[in-house]
């Protein structure tokens, strides 16, 4: 019985912890994927500039309003353009970025295949 009680308390504490931490985790994830536009090379999460601090407040507000992660990204993309996202989507400006590594991998694979396996 004592063990059961112990487990119950244990479970209770941890479930409480999770429910609170959930929003915070998403907030960190989102702000890490947003570029601080006035402090180049830093994410909003890392930066302490006026702009970044306001962005953090707004991300918080939007999460409270029930916005999903994707909706928040598209909200900021609408306002500031694709550049604000560290993880840009696939479109006509970024397809080289996305496809080049795959292409290189395939070419590399082909060269290895040709020079090693066929020679054998």
């Amino acid at each position: 019985m004592k063990i059961l009680k112990f487990f119950f308390i244990f479970y209770f504490i941890f479930s409480f912890n999770y429910s609170n931490a959930d929003n915070e985790d998403i907030k960190i994830k989102i702000t890490k994927n947003l570029r601080c536009l006035i402090c180049q090379g830093q994410s909003v999460y890392d930066s302490d500039s006026e702009f970044a601090n306001s962005l953090k407040v707004l991300v918080d507000k939007k999460l409270e309003e029930g916005f999903s992660e994707k909706q928040i990204y598209s909200f900021f993309k609408d306002k500031y353009g694709e550049w604000i996202l560290y993880d840009p989507g696939l479109n006509k400006n970024t397809y080289i970025l996305w496809l080049l590594p795959i292409l290189m991998f395939l070419i590399g694979g082909a060269i290895i295949f040709k020079s090693f396996i066929i020679r054998k």
Partner: protein, 172 residues
């Protein structure tokens, strides 16, 4: 055949890389957000500076009228410079000025306006800077020309003689 192919392909690869880097050298690495023209004005709840009332931002703007939305702050030095320009523009009957007071203390902002004059018809009080982000701004001062609930021109940094001319031209 094979011995010729390898140096040739290496040359091509380096040539392509060289061109990419050479082009990148000429690009500026200072990014300014896309100036999105003909974008609709944002709709969010904003606090008015003097009355403290909460209104929807889109209620402030009427159709068929020109508005100049100016983001300012008492601590911002360039705002002080452009203030006389804003006061001149406020004399224009066809143009209404709306201010966004960005991350400021109310007392300081009031002092600023008492000292330099108040060109604004309405002021939105933006304590945490979220209002400015709704407008797609990233600092102070920034100015937007609005007509028919659309942003038709955006100025980053203080206004000058040239931008005033342009505003007047756009309003014709």
């Amino acid at each position: 055949m094979k011995s010729k192919f390898l140096p040739f392909s290496i040359f091509i690869i380096f040539f392509v890389i060289f061109i990419i880097f050479y082009k990148g050298l000429q690009d500026t690495n200072i990014y300014t957000p896309d100036v999105k023209i003909n974008n609709e004005i944002p709709s969010y709840s904003a606090e008015l500076f003097y009355s403290g009332k909460i209104v929807n931002s889109s209620e402030i703007f009427d159709l068929n009228k020109y508005y100049l939305l100016n983001i300012w702050s008492s601590w911002c030095v360039p705002c002080r410079q452009e203030h006389s320009i804003l006061i001149d523009l406020a004399n224009n009957k066809n143009l209404k000025l709306i201010g966004i007071n960005y991350k400021d203390k109310k007392e300081n902002a009031k002092k600023f306006l008492e000292e330099l004059g108040n060109p604004y018809e309405k002021i939105i009080f933006d304590k945490d800077g979220t209002s400015a982000i709704e407008w797609g701004a990233y600092g102070v001062p920034e100015t937007f020309l609005i007509y028919d609930n659309r942003i038709i021109k955006k100025y980053i940094g203080p206004l000058n003689k040239h931008s005033v001319k342009e505003v007047k031209l756009l309003m014709k």
